[in-house]
Amino acid sequence: MTDHHGDFDSVSGRSTTGHEWDGIKELNTPLPRWWVITFYLTIVWAIGYWVVYPAWPLISGHTRGVIGYSSRADVAVELANLEKIRGDKMVALGAASLADIEKDPALLALARAKGKTVFGDNCAPCHGSGAAGAKGFPNLNDDDWLWGGTLDQIMQTIQFGARSGHAKTHEGQMLAFGKDGVLKPDEIVTAANYVRALSGLPTRKGYDAAKGEKIFAENCVACHGEAGKGNPELGAPNLTDKIWLYGSDEATLIETISNGRAGVMPAWEGRLDPATIKAMAVYVHSLGGGK
């Protein structure tokens, strides 16, 4: 690293690199030896890395490295460990009855935490991340439940779904009274106003309450009950409360009566393990709407 070219700077007496620009020569100022050695060591280190770890892209895939390291394998190991750590607790959760889970603060905390993540992964697309629902997708924070809001009923709905095609699913749907020609258009308008009146909403001018009551008695009581209070066995909503799944304005009600409604809730049995479904039921129940 001393003098490569035998050329010395006359002023400083130091060797130059031999590079010259417009009469100005570059002094040869070598890097400190320790620095250079460190630099070479990093190169050696890098080569070692290529050999030991996955490094080079190939046409289909990449070199695997001699120790076969893979970050995915690491993740798999970590996840397996996590499962092992949680194992006992999840077993305890699976073994406890729903009511007992809610009474045990530790199990409740676990079920809520687990339920919340599983809800976020599976249920949030329809019901929203906070379970506030949307038009056609029930808000799970309120106390109005199509298929019942007790712990067991919620669990059942999650397990088997509604109109999901599962053998044990909830069945029953709102018929299409208009499309199927059961009711004439003016009868549908009257029925819509009758239903609005049930929950204390204002009715259209010239609406005939007696006619509405007759139409309701003939067509709707079978599912919604005489007082319009609904029937969780059939998933028939309560028409006297303040909560409307699809909306309470006249136009929406006319559409509902004319074309019917049959929202689908998928069945989660088989897709999620029983303990997880339990955790989800407890979580949904704890949102506050449970009965």
Binding site: V11, S12, E102, P105, S129, A132, D241, S286, G288, G289
Partner: protein
């Protein structure tokens, strides 16, 4: 001194000397005297505290750690004798850092880099390593001779070197060992360490501290103080002309002359310098400087040169303290025949002391009045409010209760907010008239889901403040937190 450089002349590095100078190894000589004794005492104290504090026990009751000083990272707790801190209370450390920094300023305004000379870990461990080196290889002269010797590979020499490094490494290793003991129950960890059952991280930390202690105290020594540490730069900006620094009293010392010559001069009634140019002050200096050149960045105020010179003065029968903690103002005053004055109480020392007292006072006050029961409330964001089937409105909150005491508590929860509102805690059905009660285990937090439901008709506003009260029904201790109740 360099000759003045004419800018028109060609200049080269040689005019200024090279920009890089290799380290000259320092061989401090042993010395005895007042400051050396103070240093030994402080070293014993600091090392004693550091190495043995983890073994001090402190009874906090059953189930709680019984180590006086413990940083319990897995459980996020810090224990210091009777003090127990939670992660929410890290601001105490901010206070501690402020106090520490200002205490350093105060020390600096009184005695310059006095922290460096006596208390800094770098000094303490370097001093200890030097003591070991001296014990094994001998004092300054011997060490210099051995290092220069052209025949270093004699068995005796090799065994000396091996012994020295083994002891150094042992000390360094023990330093790392003591460090990890602050993070876990010390006796248990010691047992685990020797049976190789301790967590990997413990061994890693011991390794790191072993290497750094060995390198910093065994090899880098005064270079840390001179080149790596920012403190000399900062302290230069913080010091003033009244600060007492290790000072060569040049008025007394100059002109340097021999004992005999001085006696002759004095016999003639003339002034003679007391410094006999014996270089003892340089020989003992751990940073290898000559204090007679005036105040220097490298000087760590250790006072060893004072001891060295005092010994010389005593031997030649001159008054001691030719080198002393002093300042130039007083040298000047003495030269002018005035009495020296020492101003410890100055604007800056008063301000620093006041800051220390104020911050320390605030910390003690908050520590003494620290609540052992706390509540935090977080409003649900999604949805912010829910309308129920009867038209009433419900808001949900996440309530976090903190029980920092050493016993389980029964806590009752109330809420002041919308008129006629009811509250319900999920999972709690033992509601004594609208007042949920829950049990929180000692030294734990408990997160609850709390629902507040208000009838629609009494709740016309968009947002009403709600206040949550939590009360320990046994002791009456209470805490509260405020949030809002929102209508959809």
């Amino acid at each position: 001194m360099n000759k003045p450089v004419n800018p028109s002349e060609p200049t080269s590095e040689d005019d200024y000397g090279p920009l890089y100078a290799a380290r000259k190894k320092v061989y401090p000589q042993s010395v005895s005297g007042t400051f050396r004794r103070i240093k030994w005492g402080l070293m014993a104290f600091c090392l004693g505290v550091y190495y043995f504090l983890p073994f001090v026990r402190w009874n906090r009751g059953l189930g709680a750690p019984s180590q006086a000083v413990l940083i319990d990272l897995p459980n996020s707790r810090f224990y210091f004798f009777f003090i127990e801190l939670w992660p929410q209370e890290v601001y105490y450390f901010t206070g501690l850092l402020i106090v520490a920094a200002v205490a350093l300023f105060l020390m600096n305004s009184v005695g310059g880099r006095i922290w460096c000379g006596y208390l800094c870990p770098q000094t303490v461990w370097t001093d200890l390593f030097y003591a070991v080196e001296r014990l094994i290889e001998g004092d300054r002269r011997e060490r210099m001779k051995k290092d220069k010797s052209s025949d270093p590979m004699r068995l005796e020499r090799i065994s000396e070197i091996v012994l020295k490094h083994s002891i150094w490494l042992l000390i360094a290793w023990w330093t790392g060992g003591a460090w990890v003991l602050y993070f876990n129950d010390a006796p248990t960890l010691v047992k685990q360490l020797v049976t190789f059952q301790a967590p990997m991280i413990a061994y890693i930390w011991i390794g790191i501290l072993t290497v750094t202690t060995y390198a910093l105290a065994g090899y880098m020594r005064e270079q840390v103080c001179t080149y790596m540490c920012p403190w000399p730069r900062i302290q230069a900006a913080l010091t003033d002309e009244w600060a007492l620094n290790v000072t060569y009293r040049y008025d007394r010392g100059e002109k340097r002359t021999s004992v005999k010559k001085a006696a002759e001069l004095r016999a003639l009634g003339e002034h003679a310098g007391d410094c006999v140019d014996c270089y003892q002050c340089v020989a003992v200096c751990p940073t290898g400087i000559d204090i007679r050149n005036g105040p220097q960045l490298e000087c760590i105020q250790c006072g060893l040169c004072i001891d060295a010179c005092d010994n010389v003065m005593a031997k030649i029968g001159r008054p001691t303290r030719l080198i002393a903690y002093d300042n130039d103002i007083n040298i000047q005053r003495r030269q002018d025949g005035k009495a020296p004055i020492y101003r410890i109480v100055r604007a800056r020392t008063v301000v620093y002391s006041a800051i220390i007292t104020a911050v320390g006072g605030i910390m003690l006050y908050t520590l003494a009045t620290r609540s052992l029961l706390d509540v935090n409330v977080l409003h649900d964001r999604n949805p912010v409010a829910v309308r129920l089937s009867d038209g009433s409105i419900r808001n949900a909150y996440t309530v976090r209760l903190l029980n920092k005491s050493g016993y389980d508590r029964v806590i009752a929860i109330d809420a002041d907010g919308p008129v006629n509102a009811t509250i319900h805690v999920v999972g709690v059905d033992s509601v004594t008239p609208d007042r949920p009660m829950i049990v929180i285990p000692r030294d734990a937090t408990s997160e609850l889901r709390l629902l507040v439901t208000a009838p629609a008709e009494v709740n016309p506003e968009k947002s009403i403040p709600v206040r949550f009260h939590v009360t320990d029904i046994g002791l009456g201790e209470a805490a509260s937190a405020t949030d809002n109740f929102v209508s959809p």
